[in-house]
């Protein structure tokens, strides 16, 4: 499955279609892809279907405004929640993370884990904060009030398995990353996405 998923992205237009859909916080329509990339409708449909077949995108249906007779609900596309990893030679860092997390939890060593994460965050710092967050895979997006929300949790599966440890660790990592400059990291979980938000110091009331 993973080989197919990655192989499916080899073709440049397909890759562009995938990245456009993946970058959108809301599901997108075929027409939106056509307009954004300047490609034909048939070609867009072809690539979207291939991406759905390979498991990288999934379909969603938007309710049509108006009652019965308003027409078919709009077919939309969004990034699939499935995770794909390919490691050559074979590597299994997830298994290692599971074991280490269980050990930390059992020993009550969360404070040590947070301290290590903060140090690591400091090592990862440097340059503009939003650029660093993007490079680390958090998919930052600035809200209307200047708060940076993080659409993607890079530790998602681990956060599902060990929420307090992994979210605490993530907060410490981001605290180290943003440092004492103009930003503050804090826990503010929403229904989806990363549980940490980054606020601008001047905007905090």
């Amino acid at each position: 499955m993973s080989f197919e998923a990655f192989g499916s992205l080899r073709e440049p237009v397909r890759r562009a279609v995938y990245e456009h859909v993946a970058a959108s916080p809301q599901p997108v329509s075929r027409n939106a892809v056509v307009e954004a990339l300047g490609i034909g409708r048939t070609l867009a449909a072809f690539h979207l279907d291939k991406l759905v077949d390979s498991g990288l995108l999934e379909t969603a249906y938007a309710p049509r405004a108006g009652g019965p007779g308003a027409g078919r609900p709009a077919k939309l596309y969004r990034r699939s929640a499935a995770e794909y990893t390919l490691a050559l030679p074979p590597r299994d860092y997830r298994l290692l993370a599971d074991v280490l997390s269980a050990a930390v939890q059992q020993a009550g060593a969360e404070p040590a884990a947070y301290a290590a994460a903060r140090e690591q965050g400091e090592r990862l710092a440097g340059g503009e904060v939003v650029e660093r967050l993007t490079a680390l895979g958090y998919e930052p997006a600035e809200d209307t009030d200047g708060t940076v929300r993080l659409r993607n949790c890079p530790f998602h599966a681990m956060a599902q398995a060990y929420p307090p440890l992994v979210c605490g660790l993530n907060l410490a990592l981001l605290e180290g990353l943003v440092g004492d400059g103009g930003h503050v990291a804090r826990l503010d979980p929403g229904p989806t996405g990363c549980c940490v938000t980054i606020a601008c110091k001047n905007n905090i009331h």
């Binding site: 009550g108 969360e110 929420p163 307090p164 979210c167």
Partner: protein, 157 residues
């Protein structure tokens, strides 16, 4: 609806007495967190005495406090536990509580409209410790769906 609600018990072993400086932040957060629970979607009931919380109750060990609650579903409890202001005290729990050494939380289904007793809750936790996750006593990591109301419940369940 399924005709069942989700009961939850979790235990925490205090690192120091509740009145000590080490526990001050936890005690200060309690009213806010209890209030947050009560207005969270899916919240139904929580064990409390006249003081407004359950921290004075020590039905198991002298240094172990209990939290016994009822929610509409696993999803609503999960949402409150990990996707609300409750996440922050969860993150800090090691400041206040020692690791439990064994399962400290159990979930199980009760008929809607009933309230679990502490004794039953203790039995469910013991069942979880003995057998691992099962339909009668499970965890967030290995949840089990509510029983099918169309199927008659076995006697004594």
């Amino acid at each position: 609806m399924t005709g069942y609600h989700l009961a939850q018990l979790n235990l925490a072993r205090l690192r120091a007495p509740l009145e000590s400086p080490e526990l001050a932040d936890f005690v200060a957060l309690l009213p806010e967190i209890n209030e947050l629970a009560e207005r969270s979607p899916g919240y139904i009931w929580r064990l409390q005495d006249e003081s407004g919380d359950a921290t004075a109750l020590r039905p198991f060990e002298a240094d172990v406090i209990v939290n016994l609650t009822v929610w509409e579903s696993v999803e609503s409890l999960h949402g409150f536990t990990y996707r609300s202001g409750h996440l922050e005290p969860m993150r800090r729990r090691r400041d206040w509580f020692a690791p439990f050494g064994g399962p400290h939380q159990v979930l199980w289904w009760i008929p809607a409209g009933t309230i679990p007793t502490v004794a039953e809750a203790g039995d469910r936790l013991a069942l979880l410790a003995r057998r691992g996750s099962s339909p009668e006593a499970f965890t967030f990591r290995e949840p089990h769906p509510a029983p099918d109301p169309a199927v008659a419940a076995p006697a004594g369940a």
